[in-house]
Structure formats: C-alpha cells, structure tokens
Symmetry: C3
C-alpha cells in the first residue's frame, strides 16, 4: 500500500556511474542510467525483445544497450535500433519521469502525466555551502510505514540506541504532535540534561565543551509520501536551546528518504546534514560511520516486527501519544491512496469501461 | 498435528542466561526469561504496543523490557508499565505455564487451565548423584513424528550408524513391541555378540574388557506427547545381560525430547544419562561429542525423508513389525489429538457459539 | 512443459561412481546407480518402506540398499529383500528405461513401453578416435527452452561473450533458419574476418597462423527434445571455409544437452568435440576451462530473464529472424507435447474411464 503518484528517492548517481542500475521501486522494476546528454533516464528493466533485464546491459554512445542481443533502448521506452532489424513496430516498455536533484535521483512511479518536478521537496541544506551532507543506503525487509513509525517516535532511541543517542530523558519529556499543511511535526524538548555520547562528540567536533548541561531538541517532520527530516541538536543550557546562537550549539538534520520496494520491503536512504564545520570531510565520514552503526541497530527490530505482524495480521496495535506521529503520517498516506484510487476509478468510468 | 495440552521440553536454562530466548514451539512464538524471583517465565513473543518481539528486549530488575519502546511485560502477559503511559487498558498477550525441572524448561502450549506440573515425566536419573547427563540440541526440518519413528525402530542403526553403534545383529534379533499404560515399549536383546565401537569404548571407560562377547539390549520407551527414553547397554556375556550386576556391564539411557516447532520442523533435545563414573566430567564431554556426531547422521536422512513425503503426500508408507513402535506411538498421539478436538468442540458448544 | 516420452541426458557415469546419484529430471526424482552386471539402473528415489531417498543408500553386491533400514531395491522398482521381512507384497516404485552411451547416461522419463534405445541420437564424434571431447554440467534456474533459444541465436555472442567468441560480424552476417526432417538448422557464415580470441587460440593450438583473415561458420542443429549441436570453426580465408581441407582450419562441435529439471530449471550438459589434436589431453582441459568460463557468462542473463518472464507472464516476446531457430524448435516441442497429450487422452478413453 504505497501511493505511486509521488516522487521517491530512487538512488544516488554513483550507483549507476559505471553501469546501469536495476532497482525495484513501488513494485516497478526499473533500469537507471545516464544518457548521452548527461541526463538520468529510467526505463522498465525488461527488454521488449526477449525479456532480458536491460540493467545487465551497458551504455554505448550515451544509449542503453541490452546485454543479450544488442537492442538499443531510448529513454522514452521506445526501441531505438537493433542490429539488422527494423524496430518501428517493437512494443514500448514503460519509462518513468526522473530528476536528479540534491545529490539524489528522484523517480515518479505513477501516472507520468501528473509528474511535476516542482513537487520534489525543497532541501535548502543540500544547496548551501554552509551545510555538509553524508549518508548511506540500507535495504530493509519491512513495510516502509514501520520505518516512518520508527522515525516519528524517537522514544525508541532510549532502548534501541542506548549507547549513542538514547537517554532516559527522551522518554520523560512530553511529546507534541500536530499536522500542519500536510506536514506532520512531532517535537520534544529536553532542557538542562547531560548530552549522550553522540552529542558529546558533536559538541567537541564543533569546539564546544561536552561536559556541561545542555538543552536538547528533536523536531521530526514527515512529508508525504515517506520522507522524514529531523531537526536535532544540543545547545549549552541557558543560551536559548533550539534558538541559541551558532557558537553555543551543535545541530543537524537527520535525513530519511524511505522508498517502498515491495509491500514488505523498502530502500532506506539515511544521512545527516550539518551546518557546522561544513568543509571538514573527515568529520563527515566520521559522522556517517557513527550514524550508519546507529541506524543499523533498528534493522533487526524492524524486520522481526514485520515478521510478527505478518504472522498475526489480525492483531490491532496500540496508538499511544508517542505513536501520534506515525498515526498522523499514515492518515496522510491513506488519503493519498484514496485519491489515487478515486482518480483511477473515474478514469476507467470516463472511458466507458 | 501435535497435541498442545502437554508439557514439552522448550529449552535449557543456559539458553536464556544472558538475554531472553525467542523460540517457536507447537506453532507458538514464545519469549523465555528468568524473572526477579528466579522463576522461569514464558510469554508470547509479541509486544502489545507495536508487535516487536519481546525476546529482543532485556531483563531489568527481574522484569522483561521490550527493546523497542520500553514496555515492561509481566509474566502473566499483562503489561506492567511503560514510560509516561497508563497501561491498564493494554491488551494482554498469552502467557504459558512453564516449569524448570531436571535441567530443562518445560512449557505447556495448550489450555493453561489444564496444566499440572505433576504431569511432567519423572526422570529419576536427573536427580540422582549416581547418574551423569550430557546432551545437546538440534533443529531438524521434519515432522517430529518421523523422529519418533526413527527412535522407536533402532534397526536403522545398522545402516545410518554403521561405524559406531550399528551392527548386523540388530536386524537379526527379533523385536517386541507392546503398549502398556500409555507407554509404548520396543525391546530387542542380542546375546553373545561382539560389541560395536561405541560400546567397546564404553566398556573401556567403565574399566571392563572390550574384546569379549557381550549381551546387548535396547529398550525404547515412548511416552506422550513425544519423549523417547532408551535403555541401552552391554554386559559381558553370561552374567545376566540386562540384569547383570553393575561390575559386568556398561549401560545408559538415551534421552530424546522431541518438541514440535511447526508441522514440518522440530527441536531435538538429545542426550545420554549413565550411571557409571558419574563424576567423570571429561567422560561426559567425550560421550556427548560422540553421541552428537552419531545423531547428526540421522538429520540428512530425516530431512530428505520429509521432502519426499511432502512431494508425494498420497503415498502410503509400510507398517512392518520393526515399525510397530512408531505406529503405536502415533496411535497414542492421534488419540490425544482427538481428545483435544472433542474438548474444544464441547467447549464451543457449551458457550452456545 | 516438457515432453516426457524422450531420451534425455541424465548424468555422466562418474557422477555415481562411488555412490548412487539422486537427480530430478522432468519432475521425476530418480536414483541412478550401476548394478552388479555393470549396467546402469534408474529407479524412483523413494523407498517404499518409509519414503527415504534411495540415493542416500549404497551399493552392496551390485544391489541398491536403502540407507535407512536396509531394504534392497531391484532395478525394476520391485523390492528384492529386507532383513527379516517378506517383501512380496511391498508396493513397487517406478523404474526408468536407461542407457549408457557416448559417455552419457540417457533416461526415458515417460511411458516405458515406448522407449526404444535406437531413438537415442547418434553421435559419430563420440565413438571416433579422431575426435576428443571435454565438457561439464551447470544447473541453471530457467526454463530449458530459454537455453535452446540462447543456443539457436548466436548473435548473443557479440554481447554476452564479447571478449572470447563474440564479434560484431556475427550480428552483421545474415542468418538462415530451416526445419528439415524434424531438425532445425540455423546457419551463419562470415567470410574474410579477423578471428576472435577463442578462435585465435584454437588456430594456434592447431598449428595455424592466428593473425590472418579467416572464414568463420556457425551451424546450429536443434533436435528434439532439447539437444543443440553446433558446428563451429574458422578456416584461413580463401581455402573453402566450412569445406576447407583440415590443414587450413580449426573446427569443432559445441555440444549442448539441455535436460529439464522443473518447469523453471534445467541441467545443462555442455561440451566441445574437436577433430584436431584429439590425443592432446592438456588441450582438452584447456578448451573445457575456456568454454566453461564462456558458458557461465550466460547463466546470470538466463536466470534473470526467467525472473522477468515469471514476473510479467502476460508479455508477448518478439520473434525476429534471429529468433527463428528458437521459434521453430519450440514448434517441434509443442507438437511433441500435443502428441503426448493426445495419446494420453486416447489411452484414458480406451480403458473407459
């Protein structure tokens, strides 16, 4: 159950730097590559000749060549040529609207007529020299919505990430969730506490004392279909917390693009954007490594949660205040699904089927 | 097809010494742990909050804590607490009657109201200082009843275990099977034969000559739901065989607790109890290693037998005299299954459904 | 969808030199072994006693013994004996017509009454001292007909085997396909070209210059149910090509026996027969190694093609001129399937069912 008339993060350009990339997204098998004009292309990963995966092929003169019998596929899904063949009557395969932006490749898996690149979310930090970004990709065998739940309820940090970013005060601080203009925001503020190890290191990296009380904040923002950006940080206590001047704080944005593969698996693009020491590439690597380790701790929990839910499909889960972020996010997703279904029904009706 | 109103061996205490143990038994997913009073507990491996497996959690102050969001689960399946939450209305999960006895943890997977610890089989050798026990656990991908068949027909030793305990005389000796008071007993006596390698070593370990003729016996006892205890041994020939005085024989009890996991897989707790040189821990280890190797020889046969039976479900197998032990054991299991079904039907009828 | 009233290559004799071989062919689970008279036997891999796989047993005095309880199985599927048992009433298992010829074991998986060893294809090169043969076996997870398609359309060499036997001229040369007397022949002749690396090595091995223009040929011959033999070679240009005298050419026969295992997997017996330097065993090894590497390149393509076809069962594939070999081969296979079905219907009708 995923909306398809949406932009999803599909991959990063380095993944098809040397050869086409085959990846399943929202149930669609897609081959990604860069064409002769340097523009990313996305076509169905199915050669119309004999069904070979086009992603096993290669790029020649900027064109995608099937690695089985040399059919050349255009970025619009129409066959361009094939040795000694007339290809005019060859059936088309699907092509997908695709955009390269902010260091990611975004794909639209639904009705191409509705795709508007302006709907890709704006990521200010991805274009500013004041910010640095580092991240990675995990394949996780669970419904993408379990990951949204996970990220919209950070009380799990206390338990899953006890040795890095978790601390008792997260549980104890009240959480506030609201939906505004189609964005779900869950926020939690913890004043005058001890920074956990991850944030102590961040303070040190930012040239700040790590052994004084801090104000900590977490502001999770869900935007449909499935992106969660989390403003996180600590400031030396008494300097204004979230609003403290830069010289008193270490803060960043946890970036989570959650892209469905199948009903029970997804691609998880995780990362962190920070606006301190943006030029320090070694620090970027160090943070990426730390974050990669922390986020890997969620995987077993999420995958085994999925297995339990698959085994007991009739069980109703609880919806507590701490779950409000996930609950409200699912409400938005459900509305998108209903809209798509209604539009599909109307389309079928209007053509008299 | 396994009776559920029974005590099954679930695990050994060392398996949850450091953290909870998640194990599927008779189709039930169960988390085992030791509570604050030192008593083993067994609850459904499903957190009522979001379906996470409780066995991924930890023990704090003797209580099971979910590793995802900190819910504390009671041994009765009722939530004890959760940070900042009122848990009174939380749905219960199942809890299971469980007993620690004889070095094993016994679980009752059916109707808890019927569970009586007095029904756990009495194992005299497990409580006597004159006996030593060593064993292990195998997970085997076949119906637990194929393992019962295997153990109630030891002619397979001649073929599967030719180099250790097998010998031609097993095939040639007549086998006698009878059911007495709900116990199936299959016995075979082989007089004045050469001891096979395993028993030669046991004679030597017991300070006896290993190169003289012996009388050998095998008395397999099946008790429902799925335990097989086998009295085995050799005595120097002419001293009374099974009834010979201790100084003339080496004997032991092969211990087999066979616990269904799914319809086509089970947990096989195997071991050997002996009443000679009970203090010799090195000998216990040596026997365990030898037995572990021998019992591993059955695994491929049983798992491939299961695959054949799954592939050819319509084929009727033969029931020869040598198979009488397994056949009579299955008759008892079938009766238990019918009783459970009848009781279940009656219960449904009596509540007017 | 495979015809069963056919001879298929099942295995090579070395595969059951030490112990019986269990192999699934056309959906049949079969145990192969050599009996006391030195003759290959093939019986269902299912012991009538308890369903154990007979292939886990052993050969004693030329008879197949079940490794579980010692049942001795005859080559006709009738039980010969079992310790202390009367076996007259034991149910039979299937036995299969089987022949050892040309270094292969051929099995007939359908109606045994129709099996005639004279229908095994004649392989002149397998019996002549002027020829040498080397080959191997791959298990491939795709419909056997995708492998036939592959071998009957060698334009794929240009793409899949670019570094060894592929070259642009294959694509450019016209291909001719015809069906004559139930054999499909696809041929391609490329005159006055540069030999690709594999053939340069073959020329050198045959004592010929490798840097002069050659005439190259490929003549693929499909014979039902699923064998493809390919005459391949190069001759120094201007000496008559395919018809050139031996001292001007290097040529061989690519041997492909393609045996269905299930609907979506097969056993691929590949090899090469050559009639130059037939005594040079080192050369045979070297060619086998090279060919094994080349043919392994097809595996990922074929297995992923199968996954695409399984995912999109409704898609119609193209049938171009280059695909005519596969198309005509499938036409012959389809006719065999219809004949088998008609015969089966008639048989059922004639017995009044």
């Amino acid at each position: 159950m995923f909306p398809k008339n949406c932009w999803y993060v599909a991959c990063t350009p380095d993944e098809f730097a040397d050869q086409p990339l085959g990846r399943q997204i929202c149930g669609e098998r897609i081959a990604f590559y860069r064409d002769g004009a340097g523009k990313v292309a996305a076509v169905e990963d199915f050669c119309p000749h004999r069904g070979a995966p086009l992603s096993l092929g290669y790029i020649e003169d900027g064109q995608l060549v099937c690695g089985y019998h040399g059919l050349k596929m255009g970025r619009d899904g129409k066959t361009l040529s094939m040795p000694k063949q007339r290809v005019g009557g060859f059936p088309c395969v699907k092509s997908y609207p695709v955009e390269e932006r902010y260091g990611f490749v975004w794909v639209w898996t639904g009705d191409a007529a509705l795709a508007n690149p302006d709907d890709i979310p704006q990521l200010h930090w991805a274009e500013s020299p004041d910010w640095a970004y580092g991240g990675g990709l995990y394949h996780i065998a669970c419904d993408y919505r379990l990951m949204i739940d996970n990220l919209m309820d950070l009380t799990h940090e206390t338990y899953v990430h006890a040795s890095s970013i978790g601390q008792k005060e997260i549980d104890e601080a009240p959480v506030k969730t609201r939906t505004v203009d189609g964005e779900v925001v869950t926020s939690r503020f913890m004043d005058n506490i001890q920074a956990p190890p991850f944030w102590q290191a961040a303070l040190r990296a930012n040239g700040l004392a790590d052994d004084v009380p801090v104000d900590r904040w977490q502001i999770c923002r869900f935007n449909p279909p499935s992106h969660v950006l989390i403003e996180v940080g600590v400031a030396h206590a008494g300097h204004g917390g979230y609003d403290a001047a830069p010289q008193h704080k270490a803060n960043s944005i946890v970036v989570d693009f959650i892209t469905p593969e199948t009903e029970t698996s997804h691609w998880y693009f995780w990362g962190m954007a920070r606006n301190f020491k943006a030029d320090d590439a070694a620090l970027t690597d160090q943070i990426r490594e730390g974050q990669g380790g922390i986020f890997a701790e969620d995987m077993e929990m999420l995958e085994r949660q999925q297995r339990n839910l698959t085994e007991f499909p009739e069980r109703k889960l609880l919806k507590l205040d701490i779950d409000a972020g996930g609950v409200q996010a699912r409400r938005i997703i459900d509305k998108l699904l209903q809209q798509e279904q209604a539009a599909s029904t109307q389309r079928i009706a209007s053509v008299g089927v």
